[in-house]
Symmetry: C2
């Protein structure tokens, strides 16, 4: 089976894009005409269909934030699966589920997400150590992106604790490097665009690992902030700035414009890959 | 609304028990007669019904490991809700979901688990810092148990990184103490029974926080290992040793025996609370 990094490169070349559109569908922020006289589940299905169709020409990947689907209760799983089915063949699908459990539990989560649902990649949390990550690395051709230096303000609470004159997140990255070697290239890092210095130091530590980079757009990062990481493979995710570019009937067109604009800006920093 | 700690104490006094039965239903390990000619979802519903009815007299709480329900796919949510409905009034229900995300995503997870499903408590991961935990602490009378020193072997990878002459998990506990003060008592810690020294030092740091303690039974911890933490509130969880005490038609009776036996052993170490 083709390695994840090769499949990613193929998707990125086909679209000349490192942009990942984050599908975090929040009914409160969606166009009013999609909310009227429909259940939240139906509204989200229609919204996601429109967004995917409009933005797919400019994206190498789509990332589904599981929180927004689980919030739908019993119907959430079906909305998630329907959304997944709408994503064109050849593009990378990422489950932003941030799972982190051990042994048999981790295997069950990995099976549910990478096996049954068939996502290409999943985000995982490192706090419990390698027991929590390795079961996600057993799927050939797929990837697990390990939370390393996240994009939020309180990332500093623990991720920047000093260890041997370096932040803790460097230790996480060193472990991921080792796990990646042992698993034939199924690991990557989540690194926020809001910390360009972390992007730079982590790229030095991990020259070839794919980085999933959230934090541009609504979270405050600018496309140029990802430049320090762009010597290696990157997937740059934007959600709200694209999804809610308009809350009128033109939401899909405006999302496409925002996606194309962001894709073009990003491409100027990653000309090596695209 | 009554504080979580008071509701916990009430449940523990009613059952003279600090035992939590972990509902991690693995079809492969279940009695053969429950597997025959039924879908996995139906098998698990019947299995859980039998286990809950048989062990509830000896338990103060039930903990549902979300991995095993998500592995069922589209039907998982309904099995989870059915299982929750089988748990007698007055006992504490814990979602072992180990969620860890930020801002709006964390609020969606908290709403899904503590709001819509109505669990009394949820486990959460600390790696992303307080952004990931605080939304779970906003539910009066409920609790979020923060992963602090987990029961698995690779807990050491990051949790024991030294920081100011102490392990990182002490820093996590100090933060949880502060968050708990700010949230009127809705926080607790997850601390594995497999590390009695961590149970002791964390109890010194957090004299009044409830500890959710997995790791006795199949994971190798003995009931006596929890003694160092028993000067404060504890919920001690056992899953496999109770669920799979027998894989014959007597599984419920044998689970009840195992639960009663474990309850009695635990009670001898926590006479102050029960």
């Amino acid at each position: 089976m083709t390695r994840f990094s090769e499949r990613l490169l193929e998707a990125q070349r086909a679209r000349k894009s490192v942009l990942c559109v984050g599908l975090d569908p929040d009914v409160q922020q969606m166009p009013k005409h999609l909310q009227a006289s429909q259940s939240p589940a139906k509204s989200i299905k229609h919204f996601n269909e429109g967004i995917i169709q409009a933005t797919a020409p400019f994206a190498c990947a789509f990332k589904l934030n599981f929180a927004f689907y689980e919030a739908l209760g019993a119907g959430g799983h079906e909305v998630l699966r329907h959304t997944l089915d709408c994503i064109p063949e050849g593009l990378i699908t990422i489950a932003d589920a941030k799972r982190g459990d051990i042994g048999n539990s981790a295997r069950q989560y990995a099976h549910a997400i990478l096996g049954e649902l068939g996502f290409d990649a999943c985000t995982v949390a490192p706090y419990m150590g390698h027991d929590a990550v390795l079961p996600f690395l057993q799927y050939e051709g797929r990837a697990a992106f390990v939370l390393t230096r996240t994009s939020n303000a309180s990332a500093k609470d623990f991720q920047e604790v000093p260890y041997q004159s370096e932040p803790l997140f460097h230790l996480v990255a060193r472990h991921v490097n080792r796990w990646n070697e042992a698993s034939a290239g199924t690991a990557g890092l989540v690194v926020g665009a809001t910390s360009p210095s972390a992007l730079r130091s982590l790229r030095e530590l991990c020259p070839t690992l794919p980085f999933l980079i959230p934090g541009i757009g609504a979270q405050g990062g600018a496309p140029g902030d990802i430049a320090p990481a762009a010597m290696g493979p990157v997937i740059v995710s934007s959600s709200r700035a694209i999804l809610y570019a308009s809350n009128g009937t033109d939401f899909a067109d405006r999302a496409a414009q925002a996606a194309r604009h962001t894709r073009n800006l990003l491409t100027s920093y990653v000309s090596a890959t695209c």
